[in-house]
Amino acid sequence: MSKDKISSQEMVEQIAAKLSVSKRVAEEFLKSLFAEIEETLLKGEPVKIKYLGTFKMQWNEPRKSVNVQTGEVFTIDGYNKVTFTPDSELKEAVNEPYSHLEPVELDGQEIPSFEVEKPAITTPETLRNLTEQASEIRDILSAINALSTPKEEKQLPIAETIEKNKLDIPDYDIILIDEEEDDEKEADDVLPTIEEIDEPQQTEIESITEPITESVIEIPEPADIEIIEQSIPENKIEHEELIRSEELKKEVEKEETEEEEEILPAKPSKKANRKPSKAIQNLDEDIENETVDPFILGPKKKRKGLRFMISFTIVILIIGGGIYAAYFSSSCIRCWVQYDLLSEANRQKMNDFKGTFKGWFSSDKKTPEQEAFKNDTINKITLPDSVFEPEQTVEQQPSTPVEVDSLQQLFDSRREYNEFLGEEAISEGTRLTNIAQHYYGKKEFWVYIYEANRDNIVHPDRITPGTIVKIPKVDSRLIDKKNPRCLQKAKELHDLYVGKK
C-alpha cells in the first residue's frame, strides 16, 4: 500500500486556496512557523500547538550495541530527537476507524489447549529425522502403541468405578451420573499422556504390550466382576492381534473411541461392540455371552437414572421459576401490569406459584435468581404464550428489592421512542456503536438506537448498508455516562441483543 505524500509546497497551495491569500504570504508563514518551532526546540523548550500536539526535544542516552556480523561491542552515541505527541482530539480523530474496538480479555481455557497441541506437532518432527524405512516401521509401531496404551489407562478406571458401584449401591442412580463425568474426564486426561508415551516407546512395543496385559489381569476386584475382567484381557490380546493387520486398525480405533464416550455402566454394550471384530478372528463367543447376561440390567439402570435426573431438574426449575416470579412480582408489580402482552393465564399461573412456594423458600433468595436464567427454556414449555418472558426476566435482573428507586423504574419501564434527534444512513463499516458515541457520548448506549430501529434491523451485527437509522431521543437519565448503573443496564441489553439470534 503506497501512501500519498504531500510536500510543504502543496501545503502552501492549500492554505492559500483556503484563506484566499497569496501563495507568498502562506509560504512565508509556513516557513516561519516551522522555523519558530525549530528555534524554540533548539532552546530546549517544548512547543505546544492547539489541536495538533506538542513538540519536544528528547535526549537519547548513549547505549551499547553489538555488531551482528562481527560480534564487536560498540556504543551508540547519545543524541537529541524531536518527539511529537498528538493532541488527544487529533489522536481520536485519526483512530476513528478502530474506535469501536476494545481490548478483550481472553479466558484462561485457551492456554491449555495450546499446550496440548504442542506435543502433537513435535512427534512428526522427530519422525522426519529418521530414514524412510525406519520411519515407516515406526509409524506403524507408534500407531499400535497409541491404540494399546490408552487401553491400559482406561481399564484401570473401569475397574475402580465398578468397585465403587459395588460399595454404593443404595445411591446407584445419582452416582452413575457422577461417574459418567469422571470417566469422561479420565478419558480426556489420557490423551496428552498418550503422546508423551509415544516418543520413547517407538522402538520397543513388544516389551510394552506384555506389561499392559499383565497390568489388566492383576487388578484386584470383587468376585462377581472377575469373570468380566478376565474376558477383558482376552479381548486385549485379540486386539493386539487385530492391530497387527493394518486394515482392521481403523475399525478398532472407532470402537475404542466409542468406548471412550460410552458411559461406564454400559459395559455390556461395549462388549457387544467388540463382537464383530471377534467374529473376524473366529474366536468362541460362549464366554462372552455368559458374561453379558448378568449385566443386562446395566443400561436400564442408567436410563432410569437419567430419567430421574431429568425429572428432578425440571421440578427444580419449575419451583425456581415460581419463586422468582413471586419474588419479583411484589417489587415490580407495575412492570407486570405494563406488560399487557403477558396473557391472563400466565399471570394466573405465576400467582399460583407464588402462593404455593413463597413460604417454602422465603429465606432462600439467591438460588431462584440464578435458576431464573435456566428457567427460560422451561417457561417456554410450561407457559406457551410467554414469548416475552425471557426478555423480561433479564430486564428485571438488576433490580434488588432494597433499591427500587426511580432509576430502576425507568430501566424496567417499556421504552418508547417518539422523538428523534436525527437520522443516519448506514454505510459500509458504520456501526451503531460509532453512532452512539457521536450522539450520546458513549458507545455502550447503542442499544437504545437498536431498540428504536428494530423494524429495520434484523441483527445489530448485520445491518445492511444503506439502511437509514433513526436516532431516538433517550431520557437523559438513561444515558448518563457517569452513572455506572446506566452502563450496567446498557451492557445487559447488549448481551441480550447480541446473544440472541
Binding site: 510543504s8 487529533l90 489522536k91
Partner: protein, 94 residues
Amino acid sequence: MNHKELIAKLAERNNIPKPEAEKILETTVAIIKEQLLHGTIIGIQSFGNFEVRKKEERLCVHPATQIRTLVPPKLVVNFKQSIILKEKLNDVKL
C-alpha cells in the same frame, strides 16, 4: 512555549496582526489533520514527516495475573524528524 506565545512570535515575524496569524495557524493545523485522516504523509522540508501508522493488534499478558488480553489495532500519528533537523539538534548539545 504555548499556543499564545507561538502566535505572538509568528505575528511579529510576518508583520501581521495576531488574529490573522492565529487564523492562518488554525487553517494549517486543519489541513494537516485533514490530510492525516486521508492517510497522506505530510512532509515539511527540513523539519520532518507526519504520518499515520497502523499499530497491529497484539496479545499482551499481565505479568502478575497472567491474564491474556487482546489489544485491538489502532492508528497513531507518527512524526519523524528530518536528517537536517537531527544534525542541528546534535550541534546544539555538543
